[in-house]
Structure formats: C-alpha cells, structure tokens
C-alpha cells in the first residue's frame, strides 16, 4: 500500500480549494466524483467545458472542478447557462445544482429551458431540503418529513422531478442515487454527448441535516435506505417514478431525439442570411 500517489482524478479538481466543505457522508462528493470520472472517460476537451452552479451545498461544485466555472445567484444557473450556450454553442455547458435552487426559486427557468430544448445539461443533487442554510423544507421534501421549517411534519406534496423534466420537454431524463455510482457515471457520459436539454436527478444523502431530523443520522443509514428501496425501472412512466421510504424508482426514463434550440436558431439564421456572418459559429451537425 503506497501513500504518496495523487488520486487519478485530482487533475480535474482545483487543488487550492480542496478539501471540499461537504459533510462526512454527504453525497455531493460522490456526484462530483462521478462527474469528473465521466469527463475522464470521455476525454473531454476541458477548455470547452463550462460548469455553472447555483447556491447551495452542491453549488460549491463549480468551484471545485478545474474547468471554466461560474457560481451564479440563487436559482439562476440555467438562465445564465442559456446565455453561455447560445452565445457559443461549441461550449459544453453543465449545470450542477440542488433541488431548491433548480426547482423552487429556479423552477421557471428550468421548465422554459427544457421547453425550448436549450442544449445545457442539468445534474440535480436532490437531498430533500435546503442544506446550506440549515435544513429548511424544499420543493422535494417528502410529505410528513421534519425540517427546520416544518417542525410538525411537512404538509406539502413534493415535486416528482423526473416527471417535471419529462413533461417540460427534456430529451434525456434519468434518476439515480449516489449508491448507483457506476450507473450514474454512465448516465452522465450519455448526458454529455446528447443534444438538447438533459436532466439527471441524483438522490443524495444529507445525513447531518435532513437525515438527522428524519431518523437517518448517518450517511450509511441513508445509503442503506437507497440500497433497500431502489428499484431500476428503465423507461417506465416518469409520472409514476415515486420516492418513498419503501421505494425509490431509478433508471433512465426519457431518451429521445429532438433538435435543440441552438440548432434551430442557427438554421434559421442561415436561412435568413445565406452567407453566415462572422459571429455565427458553424453548428457542427
């Protein structure tokens, strides 16, 4: 056993900002791990990769990835990323953000970017609460769950994120838990190569806060929940893909072909202006 070697994925991480701020047992580190593993598997051109994140624990992921990165205001990474992708369609734009950032304050931007099929990729860390601010209820908090703002039990129904993404028009929709590390990496590889708006929900443990309030005090207990309850149902109806204490439906639900917004935009520009102006970047078809 040798101790001096650097981790093989460390070249994808900003060493100056390591170690990351995430708690022991938090799944965000696994999401980062799977993401950089996927980038490594694809041998992606890092100069063309832009990681955009919102506010939240997972939002720090942009700072940790050693590529062009931007950390926006709360709820706005998708709108920011829309500007980036349209202005330079050659860039691979990946949004890594949380359930509250993307679906509460950012919900409007999510559904419209999906509807337009803007070619940005969204990886959502769903930990069922607002972790960074101390564990308040969020749009995916399960019914009756305890959080710091639902001390008597949550009376709101949570979103079914894969159903929302599919209904809004995403071309690729998947859900995995952080226990499904390999399958998550494979789905991220698919997501990075696909045209259009792609979405992966990653069910992730938040043991220090959500878990602690809801009788799962350690990351291991939460991961055991994932292990016990997960059921892979590829291409099943996302509307029925529930998350309960007994069942977490995971898999790839949607994988369709649909021309992206930027493809349609550049085709339209080419039509209007047969000789494309110097700023129309040739859209590789």
């Amino acid at each position: 056993m040798v101790e001096e070697m650097a981790h093989p994925l460390s070249k994808f991480l900003r060493e100056a900002m390591m170690p990351h701020i995430w708690c022991s047992g938090c799944g965000n580190g696994i999401i980062l791990n799977c993401f950089v593993q996927a980038i490594d598997d694809l041998q992606m051109n890092l100069d063309k990769l832009v990681v955009v994140s919102g506010i939240g624990c997972i939002g720090r992921a942009a700072g940790y990835t050693n590529v062009n990165s931007f950390h926006t205001t709360h709820g706005r990474p998708i709108a920011f990323a829309t500007g980036v992708k349209l202005a330079n369609p050659e860039l691979d734009v990946v949004i890594v953000s949380g359930d509250g950032d993307l679906f509460a304050i950012g919900g409007n931007h999510f559904i419209h970017a999906a509807r337009r099929n803007i070619g940005v990729k969204v990886i959502c860390a769903n930990n069922f609460n607002y972790g960074m601010t101390g564990g308040q209820q969020g749009p995916t908090t399960p019914l009756e769950a305890l959080t710091t703002t639902t001390p008597y039990g949550n009376i709101e129904h949570p979103f079914n994120l894969v159903h929302l993404a599919a209904a809004s028009g995403a071309t690729f929709v998947a859900r995995w838990t952080t226990l499904h590390a390999r399958r998550l990496t494979q789905s991220i590889v698919k997501l990075l190569q696909k045209e259009g708006f792609c979405f992966i929900e990653v069910v992730t443990p938040c043991p220090e806060i959500f878990g602690r309030h809801n009788k799962m005090r350690t990351g291991l207990e939460m991961m055991e929940w994932f292990k016990k309850a997960s059921v892979v149902e590829h291409f099943s109806d996302p509307a029925k893909a529930e998350i309960t204490s007994e069942k977490i439906v995971v898999g790839e639900f949607v994988d369709i072909e649909k021309p992206s917004y930027e493809r349609l935009l550049h085709e339209k520009i080419a039509q209007i202006n047969k000789k494309a102006g110097e700023l129309v970047r040739e859209y590789a078809s």
């Binding site: 700072g63 062009n68 931007f70 205001t73 706005r76 709108a79 349209l86 931007h109 209007i272 700023l279």
Partner: protein
C-alpha cells in the same frame, strides 16, 4: 428583408427605441435577451428582426431575471450583450445586476422609465428610476448610468454605454424616459471608421498564471472568456484575485468591494460627460437630463432674452454623479433650478454637491414633461 447590412450608415428618421437598438448593433452587440415591457418592447422587437440578419443571438426569456442572467452568461463567452426593460423589470433585475457588478461582467441594461411605482402608467413617462439605478441592488457598488435627451443620443449613448461597460467591466445602464424612447427624430449614423468602439482588455499572461480578478493599473482586471483556455472560476461570493470564494476574510472583503467602487470613482473624470450651455457668466443655472433638458434649454434661452443670465447644465452621465461640475457652477450661481419628472431624486445629489447654494426643485409627474414656461417661471422667481 431590405436591411442586411450591419451598420446602417446614413441619415434616418427613427424612433428612440429603434435608434437604441441600432446603436447597440453599431457598438458590436451580438446578444440580446429580453422580455416584453412597455415602453421598451420596440427594442426587443427590432432586435428580434435584426440580430438574425447580422448573425447575432436574440432570445426572449421567460422573465427579466432570466434575461439579465442570460446577458451575463453571454458576456462571459466574449459577446457584447444587452437587455432592455422598464421600471418593473428593472426592479426584478437588481439582484443579478449585483452579480454583474461582483463578477465584473460588461453588459448594457436599457431602462426606459415609465410612471411608477409598481405597474404605474406603462405608456407615460417618468424619471423615477434614477436612484434605483445607483442603489437598487444590495451591497456597496458603483455603476455607470447615462441619460439621452434626443433620438440621436439614443444611438450615440448606447454605443458609449457599451464602450464604458467594456472598459470598466461594469454594468452600464441607459436611463431613458418614455418620451425620448418613443419620439421620432433624425438620426445620423456615421461610417464604421468614424464610430469609436472600445473592447474589453484581454489577458496577456500564460493561461496557468491568469488571475481573473487581478486588476490592472486602472483597477480593472483583463477579462478572459470561456473557451479560451483559461479555466477560471467566477462567483457572486466575495472572492480573491483567483476568483475563489473567501467568505470569512474581512481583508478580502475590504479589498474587493473598495476596488469595485474605486474602479468607477477614481476614473470618474474620464467617465463623466455633461453639456454646458451658456454657463460661463450664468448666475441662474438649470440642471436637467433626458427630455426635461429639452424644455430647460428653451427656458434658458427665453430667460436670456429677458436679460436673466441663465445657463443649463445638462447631465449626460447621471452616475457617477457629476458632483465637480455641479460644485463649480454652484459657486457662481445665485440659485440652481432642478427639474425632474419625479418626486425628488437627482436633486438630492445636486443639493449635496451645491452645498450652500439654494436649490429649487420642480417636480412633475404624469404625461407631460415640464413646459419651458414652468421652468422659466422658476428662473424668474429666483433670479
């Protein structure tokens, strides 16, 4: 589809919004994200037609918050980007204007001011967003704001707004009142070699040595963009010169926020523009901007005809506020008349800069700006 040329050199009869859009194109703007709102909608509609013709990007976003976020994103890829809105949309944009300030993203925001507050009077003018342009977002910061008074200035000042935002890496706001936006006047568009364009300074260090927020001598950091090989991080959190968050350091907060303010304050003399009319021997000075300045000019001329030594200080740059110019005329003037279409906004800055000199404020709300006679009466009463 007659117009496919990028720069429409020549003389035109245009409305203010269209002149602003053409000014953006002339300045090199190739990204527009907006949301329809009276009275700025024509800017979006015109650009929705022109952008594809010239190979630019136009997108109507789902709201104003998305619009300004997309503009900042496009700016970070190297494109000159703009959005246009009015009071209610401008209010929505404030948080992300703060993000543009903090990440030093060059961008132009056109605010065609209408009667407020709230939904107010969408089709009638106002100058009620002046203070909001400076103080609207939270935190300490400085922005640049320009106020055109004519349709020609709608074109020229839009070009200047882009130049300033690129030079100082700061969101630049064009504060237009609805009248100037909707009136039709002659606009002369010069040929491209006669239009001065400024672009953001690019880094000249190797990629691994680049620090995205290390300022140059003028306090502005050279800007790399996504895709150029500089893998930098930018965040709205307080950050050091590498761009990495430093949320626990008082020293970094002081250094960063002071620099963001000083970047504009210390360069104010290079930024500020005013128009001085008959001020050399004036002892009654009118300070005005936007459409009101047109009436004020007429009033000042009438006053001179009556023997009153009146002069006009027309503010072109509203922020940073031309305090030195106001301070100078205050020394020679008996009184300063400030006419604004609001309940008293820029007049406070005039009072602050004029110190002991009496300042008379003329407020007007609603459909019409001040008439020249109203301003003339104020001049007469106080001379």
């Amino acid at each position: 589809m007659a117009k496919k040329e990028t720069l429409l050199t020549g003389a035109h009869f245009m409305n203010g919004d269209v002149a602003c859009a053409e000014g953006a194109i002339a300045a090199g703007c190739r990204f527009f994200a907006g949301y329809p709102i009276t009275p700025a909608t024509e800017i979006a509609e015109h650009l929705s037609q022109r952008m594809p013709e010239i190979g630019g990007i136009y997108i109507q976003m789902e709201d104003e918050i998305g619009s300004i976020a997309a503009v900042i994103g496009a700016s970070y890829t190297g494109l000159k980007a703009m959005t246009a809105t009015s009071g209610p949309g401008f209010s929505l944009m404030q948080e992300n204007i703060g993000l543009a300030v903090m990440t030093e993203a060059p961008c132009v925001i056109v605010d065609v001011m209408r009667g407020g507050p709230s939904t107010g009077q969408p089709t009638l003018p106002g100058q009620q967003d002046v203070m909001q342009a400076k103080w609207g977002s939270h935190g300490d910061y400085e922005i640049i704001a320009l106020a055109p008074s004519s349709v020609q200035e709608m074109f020229d000042l839009t070009v200047e707004a882009f130049n300033l935002s690129e030079t100082y890496r700061v969101p630049t706001i064009l504060l237009v009142d609805e009248i100037v936006a909707h009136m039709w006047e002659k606009v002369v568009i010069l040929s491209s070699e006669k239009i001065k364009i400024a672009n953001r300074k690019k880094p000249n260090v190797p990629t691994e040595k680049y620090m995205p927020f290390m300022p140059d001598d003028n306090l502005v950091p050279p800007m790399a963009c996504f895709g150029e090989g500089f893998s930098f991080h930018a965040t709205g959190l307080t950050h050091d010169e590498h761009g990495y968050p430093q949320t626990q350091s008082s020293e970094v907060q002081q250094r960063l926020v002071n620099r963001l303010c000083d970047k504009i304050r210390k360069n104010a003399d290079k930024i500020i523009r005013v128009e001085e009319v008959m001020l050399d021997d004036a002892d009654m000075v009118v300070v005005a901007y936007g459409i009101v300045a047109r009436a004020a000019l007429s009033a000042v001329r009438k006053a001179r005809a009556e023997g009153i030594k009146a002069g006009l200080l027309r503010l072109i740059t509203l922020w940073p506020f031309p305090e030195k110019h106001v301070g100078k005329i205050a020394k020679q003037a008996k009184a300063i008349v400030v006419a604004e279409m609001n309940c008293g906004q820029l007049v406070r800055e005039v009072e602050r800069s004029a110190k002991e000199t009496p300042v008379v404020f003329l407020s007007k709300l609603g459909e019409d700006p001040h008439t020249p006679i109203e301003i003339l009466d104020a001049i007469r009463r106080n001379s």
